[in-house]
Amino acid sequence: MPEGQAPSSVLGPELATCILALTISVVAEPRGFWHEWSFLLSACWLALILCKNSRLRPVIALCAAMVLLLVYGAGYVPLVFSLLQGAR
C-alpha cells in the first residue's frame, strides 16, 4: 500500500473526529448500547490513524471487513434463506 498521504497537520482534528464518532457509536441508542457498523468502522479508522506501519493498514481493514461481514451475515442470511424457502 502507498504511504499515507494525509498531511500531519490534520492528524489532530482527524483523531478528535474519529474519537467523537467512536463515542457516538457507543452511546447512541437504541440498538442495545452500541452500533456495530459505526463502532467497528470508527475503531478501524482509529487503528489506521495510530498505525505507523503502512503494511499493517490493509490488514487492519481486512480484519474490520471480516468482522463486519459476520455482523451483516448474522442478520441477513436467515432472512434470505427464509425468503428462498418460502417461509414468508
Binding site: 500500500m1 457498523w37 468502522l41 481493514a61 471487513a65 463486519l68 428462498l84
Partner: protein, 568 residues
C-alpha cells in the same frame, strides 16, 4: 404477434444503429466511457421517439415499426458516409467476462419468469403504460393513484419494451439497460481513479450485484435508473473537458425519471468544482443538439403537468403532499439528520425484513457495501486525494437527497448510487493487496444469493408464475378474484395494484369511477357498459356511496372487493 415481433425487431434495430451513428459522431470519447456514452445516447433516442409517438398517437407496433424500417434502411444505405462499421471485436474470455455473462443470463431468465410484483409499480408506475398502450398515445388517464402524474421517463423505456408485442413479459428489460448503464458509469469512475481495466470491470460488476439496485431493476422501479444516471453524470463530469451535451442528456433523462435525481444535483455541482480542469472548450455542434434533447427530456413531464394541471409538480404543492403516501417539499435539516441516523442505526444492516425492491426498512447496499467496501473506503480516504474529493461529492449528493425526502421506511432507495464508491474502494484495496479479496468474494457470493428473488414476489409468487404460460404470467390471482368482464369498473381510494386488472396483454379496459353519489356511480357504470367493478373505498364519502348502493339493492357484492350492478 408476428407483426409485433417484426415491428419490435425493426424499431429496436433502428434505435441501436441510430445510437451507434450518433456515437460515431461524438468526438473524444475516452475508452472507459464508450459503453456509458452509447447507452446514454440510446436511452435519449428511444425516450424521444416514445415521447414523439405518444404525442402523435403513434404509440403502437405498426407506425413505430414503419418508422423503424425507414430509419433502418436509411442508416444502412448511408452506412459508409456515417462510418457505421459495427464494433465487432474478438471476445477474449476472462473470469470477469464469464461472470458478467452469467449475471446477464440470470437477469434475462428472471425477466422472463417474473411478472411485475411491486406495489408501487403496480399501483402507479405501470397503469399509465397500460393506458398508453391501450390508447396508442399519451392519455390523460394515467391511473387512480396520487403519484400517477409524476415524471415518467423510465416508463417511456418500459413502454418501448411492451408496446410492440402488447405484452408485458419483457418489461423488466428496461431495467437491464439501466443496470448496465450504472455498471458502465462505475467502470468509468474506477478508471478515472486509476484502477486497472480489470479491477475497474470487477468493481462495475460488483456494483451491479448491489442487492437494492439489482432488485429494483428487475422489479420495474425507477430508483435504480436514477442511481445509474447520477453515476453517469459523475463519470462524465470527472473527465477533462466534460462533454456538456451528453451531460445534459444524462441530466435530462434523470430529471425526467424522478425528482429525487434533482435533489442530488448539488453534489454533481460540487464534483464539477472539485475536479474542474480549467477552461471549458466550446462544445461541438452535436453537443448543442444533444443539449437541446436533454432540455426536452428533462422538462417534458413538468411542462405537461403545468399545461394539464397548472402545476409542474402536480399533485405536490408548496406544503408537500399529504395522504397515505406523503411527500416532502423542499429541504429540511430534520429529514437529513433522521435519514442519516436511520441509515447508520438500522437500514444499512439489511436485517429488518426480507429485501424487496422498495427497500422497506433496509438500505440495500448489501454485504459488500457494509463490510469490505466501507472498511476499504475508510482506509483509502486517508491515502487517496482523488477518492477523498469524490467521496465529498457523493456525500453531498446523498445529503441533498436525504434533506429533501421524508425519513420514511423507503427513503434509502433514493441513494442507491452510493454503493458504487464502496465497490470501487473494495476492489482498489483488493487490487493492491490480494488477501482482501477474501471478504470481497464472500460478500459478493452472498449478494448473488440475495438478488435471486425480491421479497414482494417471494417463493409463493414465483411458484404461481411458474405454473402459468408466458402469455398469461401475472400475479392478479393473488390480489383479485377472477372476474372475466371487459370492461371492468374501479372505485377505490389509496394504492391498489390496479395494473394487474389490465391483464398481461393489456386487453382489458378499466373504467375509473369518480362518483359523488350512488346514483352517479350507477350512471357512470351504465354509460360505460360496466356490469361489475372492483371497489375498496377508504374515505368516508366513498364508503357511504358504496353503502348507499348496497342498501338500496342496486348493487350486490359478488366476492372480495367486487360488486355487480343489479339490473332494474
Amino acid at each position: 404477434m408476428i407483426l409485433g415481433v417484426v415491428g419490435m425487431a425493426l424499431s429496436h434495430g433502428a434505435a441501436l444503429l441510430g445510437a451507434w451513428a450518433l456515437f460515431k459522431r461524438v468526438r473524444d470519447v475516452p475508452e472507459s466511457c464508450r459503453l456509458l456514452v452509447f447507452l446514454v445516447l440510446h436511452l435519449t433516442l428511444i425516450s424521444l421517439v416514445v415521447i414523439a409517438a405518444g404525442m402523435l398517437g403513434a404509440l403502437s407496433s405498426a407506425p413505430l415499426g414503419g418508422v423503424g424500417l425507414v430509419a433502418l434502411l436509411l442508416l444502412l444505405l448511408f452506412r459508409n458516409r456515417l462510418g457505421l462499421t459495427l464494433p465487432w471485436r474478438r471476445l477474449s474470455m476472462s473470469w470477469w467476462g464469464a461472470a458478467s455473462l452469467l449475471l446477464v443470463a440470470r437477469f434475462l431468465i428472471q425477466a422472463w419468469l417474473f411478472a411485475p410484483s411491486n406495489g408501487d409499480a403496480l399501483g402507479y408506475h405501470l397503469p399509465k403504460i397500460a393506458e398508453w398502450v391501450r390508447g396508442g398515445r399519451f392519455t390523460p388517464q394515467m391511473g387512480p393513484d396520487t403519484h400517477s402524474t409524476f415524471p415518467a421517463s423510465f416508463e417511456l423505456v418500459e413502454a418501448w419494451w411492451v408496446l410492440f408485442l402488447r405484452q408485458d413479459v419483457l418489461i423488466e428489460l428496461a431495467g437491464l439497460e439501466f443496470l448496465i448503464l450504472g455498471s458502465a458509469a462505475t467502470y468509468a469512475i474506477a478508471d478515472f481513479l486509476g484502477l486497472s481495466p480489470r479491477a475497474a470491470a470487477w468493481s462495475a460488476l460488483l456494483y451491479a450485484l448491489t442487492p437494492g439496485l439489482y432488485l429494483q431493476t428487475v422489479s420495474c422501479l425507477n430508483d435504480a435508473p436514477v442511481a445509474a444516471l447520477l453515476l453517469s453524470c459523475v463519470a462524465l463530469i470527472l473527465r477533462k473537458n466534460p462533454p456538456l451535451g451528453l451531460l445534459a442528456c444524462a441530466i435530462g433523462l434523470g430529471c425526467g425519471v424522478k425528482a429525487t435525481f434533482i435533489y442530488a444535483l448539488p453534489g454533481i455541482g460540487v464534483l464539477a468544482y472539485l475536479f474542474r480542469s480549467g477552461r471549458i472548450a466550446r462544445p461541438a455542434r452535436l453537443q448543442w443538439v444533444l443539449g437541446a434533447c436533454g432540455v426536452i427530456l428533462g422538462s417534458f413531464w413538468y411542462f405537461r403537468n403545468l399545461f394539464w394541471f397548472g402545476n409542474p409538480i402536480h399533485p405536490v404543492g408548496v406544503s408537500g403532499l399529504t395522504g397515505s403516501h406523503p411527500i416532502q417539499f423542499g429541504a429540511s435539516a430534520g429529514s437529513l439528520i433522521d435519514n442519516l441516523f436511520n441509515l447508520i442505526r438500522f437500514r444499512v444492516y439489511d436485517r429488518a425484513e426480507p429485501m424487496g425492491a422498495t427497500l422497506a426498512n433496509v438500505a440495500g447496499w448489501g454485504a459488500l457495501g457494509f463490510s469490505s467496501g466501507a472498511a476499504a473506503l475508510v482506509l483509502l480516504l486517508r491515502e487517496d486525494g482523488r477518492l477523498r474529493r469524490l467521496a465529498i461529492g457523493f456525500i453531498v449528493m446523498a445529503a441533498g437527497v436525504f434533506s429533501c425526502v421524508l425519513p420514511d421506511a423507503w427513503a434509502m432507495r433514493f441513494v442507491l448510487f452510493f454503493p458504487a464508491i464502496l465497490c470501487i474502494a473494495a476492489i482498489r484495496v483488493a487490487e493492491q493487496w490480494r488477501p482482501y479479496l477474501l471478504p470481497v468474494v464472500a460478500a459478493a457470493l452472498l449478494q448473488v444469493v440475495g438478488t435471486l428473488l425480491p421479497a414482494e414476489l417471494g417463493y409463493g409468487g414465483l411458484r404461481v408464475l411458474l405454473s402459468q404460460s408466458w402469455r398469461e404470467r401475472t400475479l392478479s390471482g393473488q390480489y383479485f378474484m377472477n372476474v372475466g368482464d371487459n370492461p371492468i369498473g374501479y372505485f377505490a381510494d389509496g394504492r391498489v395494484p390496479v395494473y394487474l386488472l389490465y391483464r398481461p396483454d393489456f386487453s382489458r379496459k378499466i373504467v375509473y369511477f369518480k362518483p359523488r353519489s350512488a346514483d352517479a356511480l350507477l350512471a357512470e357504470a351504465s354509460s360505460s357498459g360496466v356490469r361489475r367493478f372492483f371497489a375498496r373505498p377508504i374515505s368516508l364519502e366513498s364508503v357511504e356511496i358504496l353503502a348507499e348502493g348496497l342498501d338500496s339493492g342496486r348493487l350486490r357484492k359478488i366476492g372480495p372487493a367486487f360488486y355487480e350492478i343489479v339490473p332494474p
